[in-house]
Symmetry: C2
Subunit: 342 residues, 2 copies
Amino acid sequence: MSGITDVAVRAGVSKSTASRALSGAGYVSPDTRERVIAAAAALGYVPSTSAVSLATGRTRNIGVIMPYANRWFFAEVLEGIQSTLLSEGFDLTLYDAKPGTVERARVFDDFLARKRFDGLIAVGLEPVHDELERLVAIGRPIVSVVGKDEETSGVAIDDVRAAQRATEHLIALGHRSIVFLGAGDPHSWAHVDRARLRGYEMSMKDAGLADAIRHVPSEVTLPGGYSSAVNLLSDASRPTGIVAVCDEVAIGAIIAARRLGITVPTALSVVGIDDHEYAEMFSLTTLEQVPREQGARAARLLLDQITHPDLPAVFERLPARLIVRNSTAAIDPTASAITASV
Amino acid sequence: MSGITDVAVRAGVSKSTASRALSGAGYVSPDTRERVIAAAAALGYVPSTSAVSLATGRTRNIGVIMPYANRWFFAEVLEGIQSTLLSEGFDLTLYDAKPGTVERARVFDDFLARKRFDGLIAVGLEPVHDELERLVAIGRPIVSVVGKDEETSGVAIDDVRAAQRATEHLIALGHRSIVFLGAGDPHSWAHVDRARLRGYEMSMKDAGLADAIRHVPSEVTLPGGYSSAVNLLSDASRPTGIVAVCDEVAIGAIIAARRLGITVPTALSVVGIDDHEYAEMFSLTTLEQVPREQGARAARLLLDQITHPDLPAVFERLPARLIVRNSTAAIDPTASAITASV
């Protein structure tokens, strides 16, 4: 295997010049740099990153901390981050931080403290106790996706506004009995869910429907939405409209309705938030967000901050577009909300 | 911030002894080691991993290379790897390698060549051209999950056998017109899909149904299964049974059947492979695999090989259990396969 000495000999420069040229640390003339890179390429030489890191203090690695990698939103954000970092030549180290686990404590105690990254992206992280302070104490740039702290840089949609628009869409179609379906268990009761519930409540109040506000808890997954909706829709007091905390819960509700013989949208309107990959298949009306783009933007913001440490923190609130499909319709005054119309 | 000198002073040892004690490289008496660790903990000292790497040649980092992080199977495998590495104090660096992209070439040319890991786990990687040679040339232990190369260590179910059992299940229920649904486009035509198709074909032949073999291509996703099944089931020649290449395709087929008014399982039996998180909600009969466990096992195998480089390669073929739910039933000779029975 070729070493830095071979590269230096082939390029006709000293070993330290070759090293500077390859690490990017310290001045080397463009011509020399080019010659060294050509020599390294010809010899198949790849510098030891440990040595480069010691010399430059840079790891060319970004840490991503998220509670789940196997849920649609998180997986899409990760894809967006990954592809951006890849094109910029940065590695991505993934830190798993499920709420309330011993492993999460270890991530904060050991893994993050090693500082094996030039910056951090925190996705959907709900910091507890002293976690936020510890993230800041690491002393590396941080960007959040779906973060609640607007003091660090971040990217998110306006969740309150998205839920308001979903609710107003149903109200405009004549619905009065509208349930907010989703969230409520301690494990998934994230601030984004709270923000969406608040948006629903605000729109109901604005329309004079404060007395009709009704929140039905559900696990924030497709099967969770399904089983909560089966109970809700089997009941005589079932609503004519559902604002779901996200598309997975909305789709679960549509599947539940179909199984119970309740026709969507004739007898029941359902609106979600996300534009999940399955939304189109279920003709789901929803507020669109593009988590892949959020991930890509977060990575860009972070790389900018690493290059220019004096940049002020930026929090980007992205718009969520209403996509009307076939899961919502004007209320049919002749259809009973109690008897299923098949 | 405290440095190694402070730790050495506090522990009453030389700087090099403190360094050896913390890096684990070189002999230090147990007593001394304990004293140094206590001193480091008291001072909040975290060793520079670049320096430790230079000293030990170890990164305590594992590379994971996979084509997708946002599909159920891959995301679950990743979770299994992640939790095992976390408990062993290893970092996880994720390398994205979508088939046929420029980014994939860069992963092989630049990222993997940096060797920032003690070992690699390749998940569902279908190496092309010289990729396999290049992986081997990296000179680090490699374990595959769903790999086609049994010469390196790996973990997978027996895909041929799983598809055979799925097909035999339908044949035993009296079905004769059985379609294999899924795969067939160049992007997803993975060897695992080919193995499953082969299993289906073998069982059809064994049952004297060689003339009835019928493969209907579909993208290997839930919406893909849905749209292929809509075409298949709208046709007069629709089958009474479907063996789907995986659960997502199977669930797409069940949703298509429901929309077309074809009752599952009375008029159509559907069997999948996976036991996907949505399988139970759709009462899907399937062959169970547990990708999270496959990921955990792969991580264990790899860590063993890093510790004991002379261990022979091990390929673990895990059993896939048949889970009979309500999407398959004995064929009803009175039900027409042409007219939908709602």
